[in-house]
Amino acid sequence: MKQRVIALMRKEFIHIIRDLRSLAIIFLLPILMVIIYGYAVTFDVKEIRLAVLDESRSLESRRLSESLTASRYFLLVARLQSREEIEPLFLERRARAVLIIPRSFAQDLVAGSAQVQAVIDAADASTAVVAVNYLRSGLLQHSLTLNEAAFRPPMRIEPRVWYNPDLKSTFFIVPGLIAVIMMMICALLTSVTIARERETGTMEQIFVSPVHPWEIIIGKMSPYVILALLDGLGILLFARLVFKVPFRGSSLLFLALSIIFVVASLSIGLMISTRAKTQQAAMMIALLSTLMPSLLLSGFLYPIASLPKLLRVISVVVPAKYFLIIDRGIILKGAGMSQLLEPTLFLTLFSLVLMGISIKTFKMHF
């Protein structure tokens, strides 16, 4: 038995090594995704390009615009003379926000109630929201410096942000990336490799030999398990060295729960392969049924709470969702088994059900 499983594993490793496509998915994709998500796709918006239309031309108005552009949140790109200049600025994407300080600003300030206007380019809605918030807090800060004694709000918030004090998005993205990459390797690559053996007829050749179906499953799948776990480890190390993402929990617990997630992903791959007749079909089904939900419905890119109700219901059956709660918990918070009981139970339940179904259907197909 061991002999047959080893023969299958060896062969699978040779397939992987000689196939550029799987090599790219296993080794290149994780690195690329970490770099892209780590460097380029930060959700922290910095340096919003701001233009100022100062109709007041007073000391007070100049102080306000200086105070805003001195922070790292705004970059002063232009000083405007008239409102007609605003639209061309937005159309050419040179500025995202324009601050208009009215003629009466200085007098109003003395009177105790001054207003400024902000015009925002909301073609990109999420950046627009961030810009409004930055402007609001920038103005508040400035108001406080002007007259702290007179301006005393009845309530103030003193935020202490735990686990990710600088609110860096890499902290948030890296655990998600691990889930997506593991899912890709396990579901996509295994469904394609089995579909390929069906296409070329080699699966039939294996079925006429004394190999048991579960030996085929173990032999074909274990190389991908090993590679998926290595990839997970690689991403963690890379994230730690390059982006200083901490690892606060138990690595043993992380490994154990990763294996459960990997089994769930493999089972999905196996199920796809029993239905897909060709490699292309397997790949399409795998991308639609695993990659898309893992990216969009898992809480990786968008918080589950912000999803519409229907999608939130669907997300209940996305294994990546549970694994994300688990790996964010372990990596960022140092959570232990007792705190992760619920997602772990769900994930284990999924793995068992999916594995059961996939083994049953796999047997039926020969």
Binding site: Q3, L8, R10, K11, H15, Q205, V211
Partner: protein, 246 residues
């Protein structure tokens, strides 16, 4: 019975929906015989071979291979048969040596036994010059020999060949049949399907299949005598025409 016969088929039947691919066929194959299964495409040859190899369940009927029941002892059957499909199921991205090693591995051959068998098939099939080549770079005739090598390394008692010579040139086909003869001389039973009439002449005994039924069984010379024809091809055409008229 089991001593003398390698394959015994009784009233074997397979339906796909309303279509009856194999319609209550019965025949037996003696040990060490080269038994040809002749028929047009779609006559039910491949369906029969797939049932005997355990790839497909019969709708009804019985069959035994090497004395083992294909329904109740299918795992044991797999130990004693070799199978080569018309697609030459090889891994194109593996070298010749790696394909041999893999197929030996799934039959549990290793160590000294594996090296001995590997040497045997390499010599027998003349694969020495290709051993480290990628299988996808081999000419079709050599792929066919490699597929046969992979199917016989574990010394199967019964070897099933499903249209093993399709797409191969006449010289390679002739050489391939020489290999089949030498395997049969070693005591292996060979069950081969074909639609090439010249190949049918090489078999010890033949069964002619048409529309899921066996319409004649006998040695090529017997069949030619019985139906008063000079070639198997004429026998076949005569029988099929008679079958369609009836």
């Amino acid at each position: 019975m089991t001593e003398e016969y390698s394959i015994v088929v009784e009233q074997l039947c397979r339906r796909f929906g309303d279509f009856t691919a194999v319609d209550h066929i019965s025949f037996s194959v003696k040990r060490g015989e080269i038994f040809g299964f002749l028929g047009a495409n779609g006559a039910g040859k491949t369906t029969t071979i797939r049932m005997l190899c355990g790839l497909l369940l019969p709708t009804s009927g019985h069959a035994s291979v090497a004395g083992l029941d294909i329904l109740t002892q299918s795992e044991a059957v797999k130990q004693v048969i070799g199978y080569m499909s018309q697609k030459f199921s090889l891994y194109e991205d593996l070298t010749v040596a790696e394909n041999l090693e893999f197929y030996a591995g799934i039959y549990g051959l290793r160590g000294a036994a594996f090296r001995r068998e590997r040497q045997r098939v390499i010599e027998m099939m003349g694969l020495a010059g290709f051993i480290d080549k990628l299988t996808r770079d081999l000419p079709t005739g050599w792929k066919q020999r490699l597929a046969l090598s992979c199917a016989v390394m574990h010394h199967p008692q019964v070897l099933f060949l499903d249209e093993p010579t399709s797409g191969v040139d006449p010289i390679a086909r002739r050489q391939f049949w020489n290999l089949i003869y030498s395997l049969a001389a070693g005591g292996q039973t060979i069950f081969v399907t074909t639609h090439y009439m010249d190949e049918a002449e090489y078999c010890n005994r033949l069964s002619i299949m048409h529309a899921g039924k066996i319409i004649a069984v006998g040695s090529p010379s017997e069949l030619k005598r019985r139906y008063r024809k000079s070639t198997v091809e004429q026998v076949f055409i005569g029988l099929v025409k008679a079958g369609e008229a009836a």
